[in-house]
């Protein structure tokens, strides 16, 4: 049970996505999930053990670490990726529901090839269009919220080398040093940029879907004439 499960579930939605949606999914898995698992987790692996404070006071290090890192970058990214991926499940559920309805309609009379039904691609129109557009909208919201939370929690996107801590039980003010600050800053900026690219892709996809919908709508009255 790991990111592979998420990939399997979302892979099913890929079939019914637009081209921009497919690019978004590729960017998500290669430049975010994979980077998180193979690289970022190692960089943040020793974050507390190598967080050193210039004091012998027991407990001071724990308290300062907790004060400056209420929730670790790595965990926030993991939650961000999970939340950003879940709206696609709405689309997967809608498609599964339509397949189920079709199966029920067909099995009452004709013979049905289950394999063919499962492989059939649904076009993004009608209620599915609304579900798909809503899911993209929620993706954008979640991305924006997480980027804002990052900014607020860590006062920007840079990892400082030195933090000054005066939380009890630390005596007066204590200097605490973060491990690998430059590497962490680079990864933070990288993940942020990829987040931004994903947001742009989502916005482009929404515009594409809206334009497609508007172009189809005026054609309908013309054909009726």
């Amino acid at each position: 049970m790991d990111w592979g499960t998420l990939q399997k579930v979302l892979g099913g939605v890929n079939k019914h996505s637009t081209s921009i949606g497919k690019i978004w999914l590729t960017v998500l898995f290669i430049f975010r999930v994979m980077i998180l698992v193979v690289a970022a987790e190692r960089v943040w692996g020793d974050e507390q053990s190598d967080f050193v404070c210039n004091t012998l006071q027991p407990g001071c290090k724990n308290v300062c670490y907790d004060y400056f890192f209420p929730i670790s970058h790595i965990r926030l990214w993991a939650l961000q990726l999970i939340f950003v991926s879940t709206p696609a499940l709405l689309v997967a559920m809608h498609i599964a529901h339509r397949r189920h309805e079709k199966k029920r309609q067909l099995t009452s009379g004709e013979k049905v090839d289950i394999e063919e039904l499962n492989k059939q691609k649904f076009h993004i129109q009608g209620p599915l269009w609304w579900t798909y557009t809503c899911s993209i909208f929620f993706r954008i919201i979640f991305e924006a919220v997480f980027m804002y939370v990052f900014y607020v929690l860590y006062d920007g996107y840079e990892m400082p080398r030195l933090l000054k801590c005066s939380v009890w039980p630390c005596p007066n003010t204590v200097d605490c040093f973060v491990s690998r600050p430059t590497e962490k800053t680079m990864f933070t900026i990288f993940m942020l940029s990829v987040s931004g690219i994903c947001m742009l892709l989502n916005v482009a996809e929404i515009c594409y879907l809206v334009i497609k919908f508007c172009m189809k709508a005026p054609r309908k009255p013309a054909t009726l004439k």
């Binding site: 998420l6 507390q48 407990g59 308290v63 907790d66 929730i71 965990r75 039980p169």
Partner: protein
């Protein structure tokens, strides 16, 4: 043997679940299992090494950690995930039992082994009740063991061999608190889904039952009507019908003058 095993077993349950059941499964997989494996486990990874007490007395840290964490929150969470997922297996077992029965008797005993009726419906309802019970039980256990869902930064310990009272500091308390709230929220969401699924199924099958009974009554009345449409008065069955409280009877009158049966019997 790991969480993948549980995931594979639960994937088999999807086939026999209702719509709400599938949403419940998706929430358990994505927001509970996946979050546990990729994020939460790492937060509690070195909890004892990072648990620090302001004392040099050997053994004091161990004793204090054991006193405040009789069972670690992460292990309790794992047990909760396992216990909450397993009642769904009752349904899978029941379907497997039905299929083996059909094989043994070599004939079709059920519409489909996975159709939700009779015994399978009862099994499903029981599994929902157990799931809800386990969720509530674990939430109460979390609350009782840790004095609410709070993870304090500092705990004061006076267990032997610690001299007097000692300050002990828990590592990453804020992050642990965030994940505990996450556990509570997802648990409550799952409880709500289970209760709504239970109510939906009970309501649906009560209505079905009532409609069936009403249908049956209408059918019997219709068939009686049909039977009595053309009745030969000489038939022995007809006398019984004439004396019953059935709906109006139309009698086919023969051309025999000695017949003295009434032409219209409206009881």
């Amino acid at each position: 043997m790991s969480w993948g095993f549980l995931r594979d077993i639960l994937s088999g349950v999807t086939k026999y679940s209702t719509g709400i059941g599938r949403i419940w499964l998706a929430i358990v997989f994505i927001f509970r299992l996946l979050v546990y494996v990729v994020a939460a486990e790492h937060v509690w990874k070195n909890e004892q090494q990072e648990f620090e007490c302001n004392i040099r007395q050997p053994g004091c840290e161990n004793v204090c950690f054991d006193h405040f964490f009789p069972i670690s929150q992460i292990r309790l969470w794992a047990l909760q995930l396992i216990m909450v997922s397993t009642p769904s297996l009752l349904v899978v077992l029941h379907v497997a039992y039905r299929e083996s029965r059909e094989k043994r008797h070599k004939k079709k005993l059920y519409k489909t082994p996975g159709s939700m009726d009779g015994g399978l419906l009862c099994t499903y309802l029981i599994s929902l009740i157990f799931k809800t019970g386990f969720e509530i039980g674990f939430l109460v256990l979390f609350y009782k063991l840790y004095g609410g869902f709070n993870v304090p930064r500092l705990v004061k310990c006076d267990m032997r061999p610690c001299p007097n009272t000692v300050d002990c500091y828990i590592s990453k308390p804020t992050e642990k608190k965030v994940f505990l709230y996450f556990v509570v929220v997802t648990s409550c969401l799952c409880i709500v889904l289970n209760v709504s699924e239970l109510s939906y199924l009970i309501f649906k099958y009560t209505i079905k039952c009532c409609l069936k009974r009403y249908d049956k009554k209408v059918q019997t009345m219709k068939s009686e009507c049909q039977k009595l449409k053309y009745v030969d008065p000489d038939e022995p069955a007809s006398t019984a019908l004439f004396h019953s409280n059935a709906s109006p009877v139309l009698v086919n009158m023969p051309d025999k003058p000695e017949s003295n049966l009434p032409t219209d019997l409206r009881g």
